[in-house]
């Protein structure tokens, strides 16, 4: 429904959304009951939404329907899942360790190979696997090698950063500061975008309410 086609229902609900937006913005002056109200409301609504999503799309699809269709083996992970609930009991909390052990073991086992591949092998290959040519790309590749090595040296704390090691680690910290500066610059864009979205929403509502 385009804004021009709003009925009373849309006006009321968008008005509620605008009001709740202003409640949150009121925190900028100081903490107040309106902000706390909106904050608790969203926690409750979010929890309720997630509860029903989990029930209808996850529990029904992956537990209830398979068991109803005769796939009895799903009772085993279901029992393991129920065992997790013993965490609330001081006497029986140890039972939940069996479920935790199952998924921690699986998670740890699958992650070793893929972590090494993604975070180490591919990155090493990209750092030293390309030839250093006599052009801008080659110079940049050389600088990348120097920067990666010096940043790695900076994070190596097993020996004191003195002498040659200290010099290299100093280059490393300069490179890391450039990285953090770039991160900050991009963060500003991201945060401002969130604010702009709310301003655009409020403007749209006011125009719809008063401008027609």
């Amino acid at each position: 429904m385009t804004p021009q086609e709003w009925g009373l229902y849309e006006y009321i609900f968008n008005g509620v959304a605008a009001l709740l937006t202003l409640c949150i913005f009121s925190f900028l002056y100081k903490d107040n009951p309106f902000y706390k109200f909106a904050e608790r409301l969203v926690a409750g609504v979010a929890t309720g939404y997630f509860t029903m999503l989990l029930f209808w799309t996850n529990f029904m699809d992956k537990v209830y329907d398979p068991l109803k269709a005769g796939q009895w083996w799903y009772i085993f992970p279901a029992v393991l899942g129920v065992m997790m609930w013993t965490r609330f009991s001081k006497k029986w909390a140890w039972v939940s360790r069996y479920s935790i052990a199952f998924y921690i073991g699986i998670g740890s086992g699958v992650s070793i190979t893929v972590y090494l591949y993604t975070y180490l092998f591919k990155q090493l290959q990209a750092t030293i696997g390309f030839p250093i040519t006599m052009d801008i790309a080659g110079l940049n590749q050389f600088l990348v090698i120097i920067a990666v090595l010096s940043a790695l040296v900076y994070f190596f704390f097993s020996t004191p950063h003195k002498g040659a090691l200290g010099f290299v680690s100093k280059i490393g910290i300069y490179v890391i500061m450039i990285c953090f500066g770039a991160g900050f610059g991009l963060t500003v864009m991201g945060r401002v975008a969130l604010l702009v979205n709310r301003v655009i929403f409020l403007k749209g509502y006011l125009i719809q309410l008063f401008g027609g």
Binding site: A17, A46, M52, W94, I106, V148, V175, L186, R191, V192
Partner: protein, 205 residues
């Protein structure tokens, strides 16, 4: 038995998943696929733990005079969302349940995070000072990246090229070094878990 069997389970399942990667047969793929499936089912049934904790904590807070109203608001919001979705079709677009999602949850959550724009400006004003060489490097880099947004004619073209270089050379190199460290650390932690050296996931007796 309360600790030894879980450690054994972790060791067996972890080792099985590790070597499965190197054994591409039908039965190993079967074990791999259905172990993932089982973990998803365990997760689905375990997820309500957090929901129960939140609801229980707020029910207890109903007895506390200062917190009573806000806990009631939270529980009220929770109950309304649950009661408006007792039928499966109620979770589809256009229902009252989804209207509450779109007109209550979305604006509040979006606005809470939009406050960060104000906080980052305030933090930048108060803390972003060239107190040392390192702080100056950080400041200058941030300036160059932020200046991308300001149309300054031919200066913008040069600035965009410098920004592209910053992101693709020093920034990339530093992140690569950090990621390599993370990869090694994560692999070492996973090995320690499988070998039973790391047991913090079990909690205390």
């Amino acid at each position: 038995m309360k600790r030894e069997i879980p450690i054994l389970i972790v060791g067996i399942t972890g080792f099985a998943m590790l070597i499965q990667y190197f054994i591409p047969t039908d039965w190993s793929e079967f074990i791999f696929t259905y172990s993932q499936d089982w973990v998803i089912v365990i997760g689905i049934i375990a997820m309500p733990l957090g929901i129960w904790s939140l609801v229980k904590a707020n029910v207890n807070k109903l007895k506390v005079p200062g917190e009573r109203f806000y806990s009631a608001v939270l529980l009220g919001g929770f109950l309304i969302m649950v009661l408006t979705c007792l039928k499966e079709e109620s979770r589809m677009a256009g229902s009252f349940h989804m209207d509450l999602f779109n007109y209550v949850l979305v604006p509040i959550q979006a606005t809470i995070f939009s406050l960060l724009a104000f906080f980052i400006a305030s933090a930048a004003y108060r803390a972003f000072r060239a107190r040392s060489i390192l702080a100056t490097i950080l400041l200058l880099t941030a300036f160059l990246i932020m200046a991308r947004f300001i149309p300054l004619g031919p200066i913008s073209i040069i600035n965009l090229k410098i920004d592209a270089w910053i992101l693709q050379v020093p920034n990339m190199a530093a992140n690569r070094a950090i990621m390599m460290g993370i990869g090694l650390g994560a692999t070492a932690t996973a090995m320690k878990i499988i070998l039973g050296i790391e047991r913090t996931y079990m909690g205390h007796d």
